[in-house]
């Protein structure tokens, strides 16, 4: 009796472990493992042709924020790095806000279509996802470069005489990132809106709320979970983006992702690259904590 139940319990526990295995493997090899390696690499010495030499050093971390003056050997803040951090945060924030601005009404539009049509509209949102990121980014580049479609059309129409410099500016990076990350905003917002009970909108209209107030007082508070999720999904990859800033920024508008890539590539400074990666992670975590706290605490406002 006792023996039987014991082996049964053992078998049950083994089955549990087997079922958990994929998750555990993923956690070890895809999450904790690489993270651990990055932490270790950030504390080693760079090798001459890339890679690392197994010798402890804090130079990598030091280089994240500081730099040695090549003339007098004193140390100072690394202005170049700080300005890149700042640009990354700024552009990611602007991208997130722009995605909210375009994504929320889009999700609202789709969620208010008849059920049968919603699939079609979602398909239109998702289709760009099926195309390679580089190709999509170069497509935008073709649109906005000086001899591109937009400028040609404007010149042809006589609105401008000379092409406007759109490409290789912060604006073009934002444009590219908004385009790339917009679906990541639309999807979660749409999901929360689809669950939204639209008779509440009528109830609010009925109680003297104008369209704008219906949005602010009823729709937004109730779809906030989707908006929070969408903002995170857009902000986080924006912060680490590197293809879009590279193509649209043309190399002189670096973002964190490009800086990191530089260290692992031409820079041959893996420890600095690893330390920068950890810094990026830290910025993301701090931003998320601040954001989620703020979104969670914000009481329903009156007035």
């Amino acid at each position: 009796m006792t023996d039987l139940s014991l082996t049964a319990a053992k078998r049950a526990s083994r089955r549990r472990w087997i079922l958990l295995a994929p998750a555990l493997i993923l956690l070890v090899f895809a999450a904790s493992g690489p993270l651990l390696i990055t932490v270790i690499f950030s504390l080693l010495t760079p090798g001459d042709y890339g890679g690392v030499v197994w010798k402890f050093s804090t130079d990598g971390w030091f280089g994240v924020f500081a730099q040695r003056d090549i003339f007098d050997g004193t140390f100072g803040w690394s202005d170049a790095h700080l300005s890149i951090f700042w640009r990354s945060v700024k552009l990611s924030l602007i991208t997130t806000v722009a995605c909210l601005f375009f994504g929320v009404p889009t999700a609202y539009f789709i969620a208010t279509r008849p059920k049968k049509q919603r699939g079609f509209w979602m398909l239109l949102i998702i289709i760009p996802f099926w195309t390679n990121l580089l190709i999509r980014t170069f497509a935008i580049l073709e649109l906005i470069r000086n001899e591109g479609t937009v400028n040609s059309l404007l010149i042809w129409a006589g609105v401008i005489d000379a092409p406007i410099q759109i490409l290789y500016t912060e604006f073009s990076i934002i444009l590219g990132m908004v385009y790339v990350y917009l679906p990541l905003m639309v999807l979660p917002v749409y999901a929360s809106m689809e669950r939204f009970d639209f008779s509440l909108v009528e109830a609010a209209y009925d109680l003297y709320a104008t369209r704008f107030r219906v949005l602010r007082r009823v729709i937004l508070p109730l779809v906030k979970p989707g908006i929070v999720a969408g903002s995170i999904l857009v902000f986080v990859p924006s912060l680490g983006a590197y293809v879009t800033p590279r193509v649209m920024g043309g190399g002189n508008q670096l973002m964190l992702g490009n800086l990191i890539e530089l260290q692992f590539g031409q820079g041959r400074n893996w420890p600095l690259g690893a330390a920068l990666s950890m810094t990026l992670l830290a910025i993301v975590m701090v931003a998320l904590i601040v954001y989620v706290r703020a979104a969670g605490n914000e009481e329903v406002q009156h007035g």
């Binding site: 509440l200 009528e202 109830a203 609010a204 009925d206 109680l207 709320a209 104008t210 329903v300």
Partner: protein, 359 residues
């Protein structure tokens, strides 16, 4: 008396294949301070009519006025009309009192006034103890009260109620019927109440509009409609009715002399705008007829079934021409049925209780 809501040839067709004509040209005048009920079977267009008054639907054609001014160009938030929704539609992210305050806040009322009114309203619907609960944490009946308080708080000129009691159980429903009637009398607000329950309509309303398949069939006080249904649908939908065929022999302004199938003749009421001669159908309420000895009856029939209901007894007869006839007798200590199943009995009714139907 002033007219609160007035509709002329109001029509609504929902686009689609095929298009649905939900309302086929309604004419309606609802008085100020009236408890007015739209009564009809499911799908007859009650909600559609209500939604047009609220402003959620735009009529396909026709006019809709409120206190003499057209409503048609006003969005819902500019109409001094509030709605109690069938699903209540309470805001789930707000508390009971925040729900009730919503309309007042949107109207830009001062904070102190809002607080006062909310307190009054919470009191009025007996929800003071639960004022700070989330709306998901209260029962259906309580949600119903909150929905009512929320709609009443901004003191609308007209309150629309779309089957507000249909989700409640029987006992709560009876309570809320009385409650609604009391609130209407106390506030003096015009109530337009939608129901498919004829008993509810009869007990609560000042006037009832009976609807069927997108059109208004008859408008009148509960008693009028019950005692003098204008057509077969109304007679059938409200209460139980016996239908008899009869022949008009002579008529004056609103009465006619009719010959029944038994050969006897009696006096019946004529409907407005109905036939004044020829073969017609009469409606007679079961409680308006009584059993007598066969030779004293206007009609004769065989008792087929006797069903005891406590307060009254229903007696089912088959007339000599084959038509079924039901009779309802109140039970009290003095009356005792002198007939048994299978007996032949006579049926009598007073002059003018029979109503000639239009169709």
């Amino acid at each position: 008396m002033t007219t609160a809501i007035s509709a002329r040839s109001l029509r609504k067709v929902y686009p689609g294949t095929p298009p649905v004509e939900a309302l086929a040209g309604a004419d309606l005048d609802i008085q100020d301070n009236e408890f007015f009920t739209l009564l009809g079977p499911s799908g007859c267009g009650k909600t559609t009519l209500l939604r047009m008054i609220a402003g959620f639907e735009h009529p396909t054609s026709g006019s809709l006025d409120m206190f003499g001014a057209s409503l048609l160009d006003l969005p819902p938030y500019k109409r001094p009309i509030n709605t109690v929704f069938q699903s209540y539609a309470l805001f789930p992210h707000l508390t009971v009192s925040q729900n009730i305050a919503f309309g007042l806040e949107m109207l830009g009322k001062p904070k102190t006034e809002i607080k006062e009114t909310v307190a009054q309203m919470v009191d009025l619907v007996q929800m003071s103890e639960l004022a700070d609960r989330q709306t998901g944490q209260i029962s259906g009946g309580q949600q119903q009260r909150v929905a009512l308080a929320r709609a009443l708080a901004p003191k609308p000129r007209v309150l629309l109620l779309d089957e507000p009691l249909s989700a409640l159980d029987f006992k709560l429903r009876k309570e809320m019927q009385l409650e609604l009637k009391r609130l209407q009398t106390e506030t003096g607000i015009t109530f337009i109440f939608v129901t498919h329950d004829q008993e509810e309509a009869l007990t609560m309303s000042d006037r009832i509009a009976v609807m069927n398949a997108g059109s208004i069939r008859q408008i009148g006080a509960p008693r009028d409609i019950y005692d003098h249904p204008a057509e077969r649908f109304v007679a059938d939908f409200i209460g139980d009715t016996n239908f008899l065929s009869a022949q008009i022999t002579s008529s004056n302004a609103d009465r006619a002399r009719v010959d029944l199938s038994s050969g006897e003749s009696t006096s019946a009421r004529l409907p407005e705008g109905g036939a004044r001669d020829g073969q017609v159908t009469l409606a007679i309420r079961p409680e308006h007829a009584k059993l007598v000895m066969p030779d004293d009856g206007l009609l004769r029939g065989t008792l087929e079934n006797i069903v005891y209901f406590g307060t009254d007894t229903h007696i089912h007869l088959r007339l000599t021409d084959g038509t079924p006839f039901t009779l309802r007798q109140q039970n009290n200590s003095e009356t005792e049925l002198q007939f048994a199943k299978g007996d032949t009995a006579g049926i009598r009714f007073a002059p003018d209780v029979a109503q000639v139907l239009k169709d």
